[in-house]
Assembly symmetry: C2
Homo-oligomer: 511 residues x 2
Amino acid sequence: SIWDWHRLPQYVDPRYTDYARANASIGINGTVLTNVNANALLITPMYLEKVKVLADLFRPYNLKVYLTARFSAPMEIGGLKTADPLDPEVRQWWKTKVDEIYKYVPDFGGFVVKANSEGQPGPQNYSRTHADGANMLAEAVAPHNGIVMWRAFVYDSNVPDDRAKQAYSEFKPLDGKFNDNVIVQVKNGPIDFMPREPVHPLFGAMKTTPLMMELQITQEYLGQATTLVFLPMLWKENIDQADLKKSNALKAICGVSNIGNDRNWTGHLFGQSNWYGFGRLAWDYETSSLEIANDWTRMTFTNNNDVVKDISWMMITSHETVVKYMTPLGLHHIMGANHHFGPGPWVSKMSRSDWTSTYYHKADSLGIGFNRTSTGSNAIEQYSPETQKKFNDEKFLLWFNHVPWDHKMKSGQTLWDEICTNYAAGVEEVKGLQKTWSSLASNIDADRFKHVTMLLERQKDEAELWRNSCILYFQTFSKRALPNGVDTGNKPLEYYINLSYPYAPGIRPRW
Amino acid sequence: SIWDWHRLPQYVDPRYTDYARANASIGINGTVLTNVNANALLITPMYLEKVKVLADLFRPYNLKVYLTARFSAPMEIGGLKTADPLDPEVRQWWKTKVDEIYKYVPDFGGFVVKANSEGQPGPQNYSRTHADGANMLAEAVAPHNGIVMWRAFVYDSNVPDDRAKQAYSEFKPLDGKFNDNVIVQVKNGPIDFMPREPVHPLFGAMKTTPLMMELQITQEYLGQATTLVFLPMLWKENIDQADLKKSNALKAICGVSNIGNDRNWTGHLFGQSNWYGFGRLAWDYETSSLEIANDWTRMTFTNNNDVVKDISWMMITSHETVVKYMTPLGLHHIMGANHHFGPGPWVSKMSRSDWTSTYYHKADSLGIGFNRTSTGSNAIEQYSPETQKKFNDEKFLLWFNHVPWDHKMKSGQTLWDEICTNYAAGVEEVKGLQKTWSSLASNIDADRFKHVTMLLERQKDEAELWRNSCILYFQTFSKRALPNGVDTGNKPLEYYINLSYPYAPGIRPRW
């Protein structure tokens, strides 16, 4: 976050204005100031004074302010004994609170809510539904034309079923039960911002409830700020699968921001292209990724057509490259524990089984992959027959199927060999990015050239880390030799298992 | 910290070079890369590769690299069953580890150690002394001309005595027992970087052991990055009390850095003057604060003599101003709990009594202050008679004495009135800083003028917060009326007690 809540409201960082201008320039018209794991203090006067300063600053740029609402706020800051959404006192408390917020911010946009998810409180604490909770808040903001964005990112550790199915199972029955000013906010895929996922099954399933797609601009599972990956390629894949024009479901798009206090905003210079690309797609989701890449490159570097072509090629191919060396062929959620950086297919002991890697890849002596067909969890049934056809592609193979190691792939290789050659190809493709970038030395200013050069070297090392450790780990199940030309370095699997990342982003520094 | 440990060694931020140049320009010749609360991982190959990159970068600037050593590293990363400093295997482990470090960094400077302090492991875990622990490490680095800086910041929660006495009690008996390449690192005062402290009693008491003074450049207890306070005034006071020339004790000076990823390095522009001033004093501790303030102002803003005079005046007076509105007349350690920002004289319940405020101010119906005379803890006896005389000043009154509310001060006022008028004067003096700064509008560029203007407004609000809450709190003991002209705002004490600072620096953000 770039908001210095401590120094607000008196100290207003000049970057706040730059932030608003940048968003306005690419068509972004709203901002949620805080993380979805909400703190009730945010809607107390001391913090509303800070929010007001930002809202006043953003208003000329048409950037509307939204806040996250902590469902238990009536108890935590209101002194009530319950936060039950059907309790009249609770409903009145929210109405009064909302009226107070609008005194500070007359054009306040409304609330985003993460409820009954990953430890956050919610209406189910009182045996009420998500609709009950959302409608209570919706009622409070409705007189002011506010909206409620209610997140569908829920999964219950006590449900012995496929995590990928749970949001659908909980929200589909509620279709039509939400007030008019509620939008259900659904992640692009059913798990959690993986390098590649099939589209979330709620798109297409919710017939009357407005939906909005939540994308992740920050690369939580895609190498964070050390990886060059152009995300519009990923987003467009899911937007296309959702067939939005037909379903007419998408009423908004939001994204988890990737900006911070780095001088270049995003840490990796190419991270800026994802902020930019998000804005372009939120404005018009039919814009092609190539057009976005070209425009960004021209505005960022040069109008030299040869250079634009090379850089755009790097961007356009980068997503598939990352998928190859991280999670090829439909693999997913095999990153390290706690941090979400780096490989961890061996993670098997967590407080919840659906936080482990083994829950997802299910590698055994016979094969690998999560059977989500009718003989397995049947998650596939949550999609229309037409959408199901879209997943009939080897890139989703191990997402939906547990497949024998010797399964013959379209290439003629066995599955095992194909997994290995994917990891190897991912590394080679990063070397290709390095080679292309090197050739541009005379066309790019020295500072930014060096910045990207260093980061690509890092990305190559990370790609090798994924390749070596994942192949060595899966080999303990497949018991098969490596195909010709596939290298896993000179270190044993144990070396990779013992690596520790106390400084990975999202980890609290320990020194 | 500005080190991006995650992206090192491949990604080397250009700021690292700027950092080295800036230090070299003011005579700073060493840097400890990590916090004293050490992580053993730091001295494993994965991190030593990162350290090497920094050391190589700093070498041309004559900036030597030091590391913090975690005392239990032989167990945590070495697989030994003990870290007992007299165990031959442990001693050998450290020698081998040190040899390894010097392969990465041939001119490695040595270790800083925080042992048996605030939860850190140390030699006392094995019934050994600090000298035993320090000498073991000293022996390991000696063949490479390395040194060990062993911190004297220790206080045991089980000792029912005055925390201010403990470092002396533990280290004085060890005088002469340290190897030649050990320096004992002693904070400027006996508690912990308070706005004002008497000098640490170990200066002057250690006759043969080399000492170094540890200063705090970052303003942990002085309003952090929202407060304009020129710290050379504070440091010089303690350096002068230590009478270093006579004792010949000071072999080095180190400081806890105040730099971070802010574009201006220090958050508050005037924080730069403390980094600069630290370098100047480390180079020559007899330089006057006024000279430092003048030089910094000329290099930072202008050579216009009138402006230089005004800004230097702001700087030179700022320390006394902050003492007045935070901890006048020898009060200390009355800040909020957990965060060290803002007032908290009411803090009385912590896991250790010597982390509370009431332990230090001891306000009661009779008076206020910590009796450290012969009728009390007798901490005063740890100083030579000559040094004791230096504390015979009302500015140390409540540090050493419990004083009746009606005690007559030199001004003719009672102690109670004097406390109140100090707090009130502190606020007025901040308003004076604002007035002076405002008058310079035409002499300072608009961006920096606004930056400081906003921060001074914040500082005024914080000064009022200290004044109002401290006077109202102490009044519950003194039961006396406010002197004429002293205002405490329109809020009750409870309001201040209930304020919460989830975003104060040092607190992990909760949203």
